[in-house]
Symmetry: C2
Subunit: 144 residues, 2 copies
Amino acid sequence: MSELPGRFCSIAAALEVVGDRWSLLAVREVSLGHHRFGEILEGTGAPRDRLSARLKALVEAEVLERRQYSDAPPRSDYHLTPAGKDLLPVLRSLMAWGDRWAVETPPVTLLHHDHELRPTTVCGTCGEKVHGADVHRRSNTPTT
Amino acid sequence: MSELPGRFCSIAAALEVVGDRWSLLAVREVSLGHHRFGEILEGTGAPRDRLSARLKALVEAEVLERRQYSDAPPRSDYHLTPAGKDLLPVLRSLMAWGDRWAVETPPVTLLHHDHELRPTTVCGTCGEKVHGADVHRRSNTPTT
DNA sequence: GACCCTCAGTTGGGAAATCGAACCGACGCG
DNA sequence: CGCGTCGGTTCGATTTCCCAACTGAGGGTC
């Protein structure tokens, strides 16, 4: 992780890992069950070399795991690590935003069990739905 | 919005708008109450020209609004539109991910009223906490 | 009015990332 | 042997990015 010029925060840190043009789309493809290079290539539309580099970086960052599933011919596929699975809420919120503000017709709907999923953020501590006005920042408590 | 080569989805559409290196950081700065160009510049660490271009694009995409608050000298500042405010859940989930997987020490804590906010995704329809295994995709219902 | 400062950009040129297309090597098939 | 597939890598051209310098409108001071 390089020295960042701006304010340090975990959003910037997260974007250092998955903030480029293709990473999140690659994670989306893997999460959709497309594990092989060619599938991810087609699903994302990324150039081969970019995808190759990104997958390498995501494996390095432990977002994806590369598994060799055949020796002859040598074939491997990509799977989500725990960190990768933890990106799914990010993808869901991004998709919800895109549905609302970046496309005319939402192309897919997520199903939660048998009904529509409407992703909603609540506070894990008190269970209450989160409204922007209720949230404030606290500097890191310097208690070592 | 250009023609995308890969699978069409709202995640890709969202990333077309805010998927570059500086957009989300700029939105973060504005959401933190830093509305002026110089503040956003310092907070993000972006080059001036990049930031200028990004802010222009975000205004164009109706994520930010530019308001002239002084004629002499001509000064304007940037505010979140409804679409911009709707990005806050994305930022929160990204921050939660970064806290967990991209930094050692979470530098800030969000407060919900007077206690720690732990962002959690629930289904808005049934209120149940969302687990990845419960979520499935449905193609767009072609019912016009 | 001369001088210097701030703020919000714009401009220019070089460095770096990105792109599409072509190529490569290991293998499988007939 | 010749062809096709899969998963990349390499190449050259294009695009984007970054940094530093400049602009331009105005303000503050003497």
